[in-house]
């Protein structure tokens, strides 16, 4: 490993911390830049024991498309769940547990998938099998379980595999 690689073991994390610091401070004065650089260098070194694997994000275009898609799904799901809550007394959604067989193995990809499922109001990440082969989701409203699983895998799991694996 080169000297630079030892000094900055996680370049993405360092860049994100630096940008976060400047955005929070809302200034690019010398003092803030020095503080931000200090943070960006120190935090990744101090937390290196917490990072299991190095982040390698491939296909940035897929990342952008994936974020937009999740944002869109969150919006739709928000309106769906809100409407179902309002008319709860008259019509109940078909909520149940659904088991999704997983092909995604990368821990970071799974972490991203768990973020997606919690942020979308219609799904709750409930349990991951110890061997990471299946995922238990609680879904707000499912008609056809097979169609839901196929859509979930194509819409979220496939792009995450492209990005992380």
């Amino acid at each position: 490993m080169t000297f630079l690689g030892k000094l900055v073991p996680a370049p993405l994390l360092s860049a994100a911390l630096f940008a976060l610091w400047l955005a929070l401070a809302r200034s690019t004065s010398v003092g803030q830049v020095v503080l931000g650089l200090g943070l960006a260098l120190a935090v990744p070194l101090l937390t290196s024991a917490l990072r299991l694997t190095n982040v390698r994000v491939r296909r940035p275009l897929v990342v952008v498309r994936f974020i937009l898609r999740v944002g869109y799904d969150v919006l739709l799901s928000n309106f769906e769940v809100a409407w179902d809550v309002v008319r709860w007394r008259w019509r109940r959604p078909r909520s149940k547990f659904v088991i999704v067989p997983l092909d995604l193995r990368d821990p970071l990809g799974l972490a991203a998938l768990s973020m997606v499922t919690t942020v979308v109001p219609g799904t709750v990440w409930s349990e991951l099998a110890l061997d990471r082969r299946a995922l238990l989701l609680h879904v707000w409203n499912v008609g056809d379980e097979g169609a839901f699983v196929a859509r979930f895998k194509a819409r979220y799991e496939e792009p995450l595999r492209e990005i992380f694996e």
Binding site: N78, T118, V119, S126
Partner: protein
């Protein structure tokens, strides 16, 4: 303080009211739904669409007031979506564990037992 154009004030007000509406629905659902896992769904309304509307409103308002683009409220959306899953996952796992220990009928068995499905 400079006067804001009417459409900005209207848009900010609409976003804030929309956000409040979603938070109320979220709280109502949390209160009234009969089952723990059903109750996990409505709070997501508050921390996604509810907080998004407030964030957009504050970006719009302060960008117009300071007549420059103010983008750091985006950090609210980003940090919320990173931190919320931690507590949600823990709550869901605890609920599953307790229900299985109590022998609840509508709870699926642990996933690892069905290894060769």
């Amino acid at each position: 303080m400079n006067q804001l154009p009417l459409w900005v004030e209207a848009a900010v007000a609409a976003l804030l009211v929309l956000s409040g509406l979603f938070v109320v629905i979220s709280a109502f659902g949390f209160l009234r739904l009969p089952d723990f896992f059903l109750r996990m769904h409505p709070p997501a309304l508050a921390y996604t669409f509810g907080s998004w509307c407030v964030t957009l409103a504050s970006i719009l308002y302060f960008s117009m007031i300071e007549s420059q683009l103010v983008l750091h409220p985006w950090l609210i959306i980003i940090t919320l979506s990173i931190t919320v899953p931690v507590t949600t996952l823990l709550l869901a796992r605890v609920a599953l564990f307790r229900r299985r220990a109590a022998g609840a009928a509508d709870t699926p068995p642990p996933l690892t037992l069905r290894r060769d499905s």
